[in-house]
Each structure stands twice: as structure tokens, then as C-alpha cells.
Amino acid sequence: MNKSDLATRILAGDRRALARAISLVEQGGAQAKALMAEIYPHSGKAKSFGVTGPPGAGKSTLVALLARTLRAQGLTVGIIAVDPSSPFTGGAILGDRIRMQSLGGDSGVFIRSMASRGRTGGLARASGDALALVDAAGFERIIIETVGAGQSEVEIASIADSTIVVDVPGLGDDVQSIKAGMLEIADLFVVNKADRDGADALLRRLRSMIELGGERYRAWKPPVLKAVASEGQGAEAIIAALEEHWRFLESGSAAHQKAQERATRELQEVLAEMLFERLQNQHSHEWQQAIEALAKRQQDPYTLAAELLKQL
């Protein structure tokens, strides 16, 4: 198969082509799918990790610090920073780069801001595609920053190999600052702003929570580490813990299980999207009729969905 010009340029590490391609997969559509079909076989070489946590926890500051540390080890770094779109206007202010200025001018770093654009399932898809693109362009470590606010943000974190959940002291007495869903996806906890009062107490609370976590934490027990991202402290231990997690993933059944889970989710998402598009485009009449019927409560969604499936 002949590679498209865009794919060829991405694989050669052309930053402009990479930037264009990310816009393309954000929009979705046939062209994006064709590109991803070309790119996908060339992805999977990078190691990736998500950084999630409450707004203002210092995620962007930490991401910049970790990127600098990885650069000092001679590794190239891609960063995807996702922020929520306004549900009212669809617009967004993407301000994560403000904390990443120290990475400016380094051609071994590529930073891209993405808005969530109000998609629930599609966001994980678009950021997953963006990750594969940055990977195929040759970046060796990829960091995805998301605000741990809703289900979709939690999902994105899980498209990466490892997930760091960042918490800070002073957000509340309980571990209420981070949501339950975030606790479940953490491979590593970082207590940032450890220069503040209450850091040790938070550290102990998180550790005891993991001790009580039982079944979930048997194979891999998430380390809980301290950092002062704004002072450049804590990065080496975090990188070392990530490496240990990657070794764990590669040893034995964990890797297999994680890869299976990810593949299942990816395939489910793409299949659902394609099914949906096909119904909307090729059977738009039946699609509209079914919506009408459901809106008027003339029929139940199960029967309607089954009938739509028969159309295919």
C-alpha cells in the first residue's frame, strides 16, 4: 500500500505534519480513519503515562518537571494536555502550556493542548489517536494530562500504560479531593505541594487506603510518593516508580490482561462509532423514525435498537 504524504511525513518526525494530523483525528471522519489505519502499525513503541487529579493540584507543573527529567535522561517527550470545553459555548481556554514554558525551544519535546469538546466516549478515542500519532512520530515517552473531573477524563488516563493520580494536602480531611473513580485507576499516587502542611497526613491516609484496598492492589501496590513540583523535587523517584510499573506490566499476566482490556475498549469504541455513523448515514430514515418512536414512548429502546441492527 502506498503511504499518504501526511503519514510519511509523520513517520519521518515532521512536527507540522504531526500537528495537522492531530487536528484531523480531533475532527474525526473518513480521512482521519484512513490516516489512523496507516499510522497504527507504526505505534506502540513509546511508553506512556497519564497524570490526572483535581484542578490546581500542580499537574502541569509536574508534567513539565517529569518531561525535563526524562529529557535529561536523553529521551524525547510528547505531551498531550486535555482540558474541558465549556458546556455552554463549546469554547475552551487551554492554559497548561503556561506551566510548561521551561520546555520551550527544545525540539525533543512536542506539546499539544486538546479540548474535551463535550464528547464522552469520543474523547478517549481522539486522545488515543493523538497518542498513537505522537508515538509514531518517534517520541519515546508520552504524557497525557487530564483534569480528574468526570468519567471521560478518567477514561483517557487509562489509554496510557500507567496512570499517576495527583493529590494535594489541604483540600479536605478525607480523601475526598480525588474521586472514587480516580482511586481505582491509579498505578501511582503523587502527593504534590508537599511543602504544605498536611502532606504527611495525606500520604499516610493514601497508604492505609491502599492497604485496605484488598484484591485490587494485590498484584501491583501503587507507590505513594511526595513531590514539590514547583521546586523541581520528586521527579526521579516518580520516574523510577513508573519504570518499575512498566517492568511489572511486561512481566507475566499483567501485561496480557492490560493489553486485552485496552484492545477490548478500543474495539468497542470504534465499532460503536462506526455502527452509529452507518445507521445515521445509510439508514437515516429508519434512524429518525426510531428516535421519534422512542421520544413518544411508542416503543422501548431495546426493540428499536434490535430493529435498527437488522437493517445492517
Partner: protein, 134 residues
């Protein structure tokens, strides 16, 4: 999904006020645009590199420092060198009329907006000019 207008809002130069830039960023967001805000004291090279990575349609520069006749043409020159001449370039701040004319005539600025400009005017300008790009 429709193509969102992506705008890089940056402050070149050494002055330390970004209230104006933040007001503009919010107005553009409220008009449905995706605004990448990069913060204070950006060099022209950092601005152009960020614009490239973010694949923006528009670069909006806010400048109060008086260094506009060195910094703004530099941004334009670097964009040309990167083959990014199609990015809509606008600036706002305290820029004398005579300088604004030169920036528009010789340095690729589509619009220069003074301190009194309403955010509506700015939003409309971007919508009209980005629309005619493609």
C-alpha cells in the same frame, strides 16, 4: 465534527500584565473558540513553535511594552520561514496608528486593535477572516 477555530493568545515582550490577554481569551472562548493561552514573556520563537504544535488558525498577540516594532515583525518572519503564512496574525495593545499601518502593510498583520476595541469586534473579525481562509 465541525472544525473549531483555534487561537493562540500570547504576550511577547517583558511587560508583566496579562489582564488584557485574559479578557480576550475569555471572550474568544465564549464565542466558541479554543484558546491556547501561553502566558507572559514569550519570545517570537516560542510563540511560533507553540502555534505550530497547536495547529492554530489564528495568533493573537497582546503587547504593551513598546517593543512591538521589533517583536511583531519577528513573529511574522518566523511564520514565513516555517511555511505558516496562512495563519491569521493579529495584535492588540498600545500601538501607534503609524506603526499599525506598517505592521499591516509590510509584516503580514491582518488586524491591529487598540485598547478601546470591543471584544465583539475582535470575535467578528476572526470569524470573518478565518472563514475566508479555506
Amino acid at each position: 465534527m465541525e472544525r473549531k477555530i483555534r487561537v493562540l493568545v500570547a504576550k511577547p515582550g517583558l511587560d508583566g500584565h496579562d489582564r488584557g490577554a485574559k479578557v480576550i481569551a475569555r471572550a474568544l472562548r465564549d464565542a466558541g473558540m479554543e484558546v491556547i493561552y501561553t502566558g507572559l514573556q514569550q519570545s517570537p520563537a516560542m510563540i511560533v513553535e507553540a502555534a505550530l504544535q497547536e495547529d492554530v488558525d489564528v495568533i493573537g498577540l497582546s503587547i504593551l511594552s513598546g517593543a512591538h516594532m521589533t517583536l511583531l515583525p519577528k513573529v511574522h518572519q518566523l511564520l514565513q520561514e516555517q511555511g505558516m503564512g496562512d495563519v491569521l496574525l493579529i495584535a492588540g495593545g498600545i500601538i501607534p496608528e503609524s506603526d499599525a499601518e506598517i505592521l499591516k502593510r509590510e509584516h503580514g498583520f491582518a488586524g491591529i486593535f487598540g485598547p478601546g476595541t470591543s471584544t465583539n469586534e475582535l470575535v467578528e473579525f476572526i470569524q470573518n477572516h478565518v472563514g475566508s481562509r479555506e
